[in-house]
Subunit: 216 residues, 2 copies
DNA sequence: CGGGAGATTGAGCCCCGTCAAAAACAGTGG
DNA sequence: CCACTGTTTTTGACGGGGCTCAATCTCCCG
């Protein structure tokens, strides 16, 4: 078995996403920006889904919980990202502001002219989700953290440094690890001179290619 | 933090999916059924995506590989399931027939009348993908296998027995485990009287509720 | 400076992966 | 129907990566 072609890079997907986001921004910009303080709920699992959301600034986490408290964050949404569409009019996940976040929201008319764009965004989300499955199912702790940093960096358009709006706990719950393991990998990468940690929430990527290579 | 509402059960989602599938079946039925023998490729990662596919009979695996051969199956598609839509006209995954499989295929007109249905199917796929993240990121081996059996049973509409078109290797690559671990969990469930194994590819669920409870 | 939340580091253990062998199964041809 | 062969699955022994529990440290804000 041979891999017939390389996949789209994260950066490519980011550009595609940006283009799409901008395509539907005009409609969104007519809407006011609602402010959500860090940790506040945007919607809950089980709620009726009537709106589409677009992040103006800040960061949103989409997650789900098991009965005993285990949590899996399915996605982080950054400025420009659109989220909140549902097939059956019911939210299947929770959405919360990670930090101080501004959000455009508008009612989702089922057959609105922008539904083509919504389809594109949904399909992009599907690819993202399925790619994250590869990380969760088949990569070890170091590879997961590297994939996360690479993804965040490319989404922020800067391969030299990233700032992380989320806590170590959030990162762990996104990567299917514990906060201790995430912390240990960060320490290891720092010790190996691959990254530097100017502060808790920002990462300098000294050896970008080493990080990229870890993601296979 | 409290969970505000229970999610849609797998069975509910199955019915929703069936309804949607049937909605677009008329268009599909005008198309011939192409036959794919077990293991044959339907499309490859990197290929141009021009068609939509619907499983007539059999089973399809959607997967991706790491450079060193690790594989993650993102989804299994059974009779009625629609797959193959892509945001940017390029396949990001491989699709292969798991067993002898028949497939309807038709060109995907970007603004065809059925695009509303395609959006619904895409959104359903997104929910499925994100729910599978919870399994991959936060559940142990026994919980993963239980979740798999419950899901397959509900999709097949029979909570007393399931037949599995796929090998243990496929199951392992779907659940992010090794085939040895999958095999051990099957043996354990059998030993505990929760399931019986009339043959390699069929499972009788003696204690359905026990299985359901394991999935939390 | 003091208090508290979040992050780091350490020690020990367990689940699951790895390696290896045996068993069950599926074809194939006689 | 059975013997033969290759593949898939099962089972066992063992080791390691990541989780758990716990202590320490760092960074904020008063």
């Amino acid at each position: 078995m041979t891999i017939h072609a390389r996949s789209l890079g994260h950066a490519d997907r980011f550009r595609a996403h940006q283009a799409l986001s901008h395509a539907i921004l005009p409609a969104a910009e007519a809407q006011p920006v609602a402010f959500y303080p860090a940790g506040s709920e945007i919607y809950a699992q089980g709620e009726a889904a009537r709106k589409l959301y677009q992040v103006a600034f800040g960061c949103v986490r989409i997650y789900r919980m098991l009965a005993d408290g285990r949590r899996q964050i399915a996605a982080f949404h950054l400025a420009g990202d659109v989220f909140g569409f549902e097939a059956d009019g019911t939210h299947h996940f929770f959405a919360e502001a990670v930090d101080a976040t501004g959000i455009h929201a508008w009612r989702h008319a089922a057959n609105a002219p922008e539904s083509q764009d919504v389809l594109q965004l949904a399909l992009l989300g599907l690819v993202r989700a399925q790619e994250h499955m590869l990380v969760l199912g088949r990569q070890n702790a170091a590879e997961r953290v590297a994939a996360f940093l690479v993804d965040m960096a490319e989404r922020q358009g800067d391969t030299r440094s990233v700032d992380l709006p989320m806590s170590r706990t959030d990162i762990a719950d996104y990567l299917g690890l514990t906060i201790e393991t995430v912390s240990r990998v960060f320490s290891r990468l720092k010790q190996d001179g691959i990254i530097r940690l100017p502060s808790l929430r920002s990462v300098e990527m000294v050896k970008w290619s080493a990080l990229r290579d870890m993601t296979s």
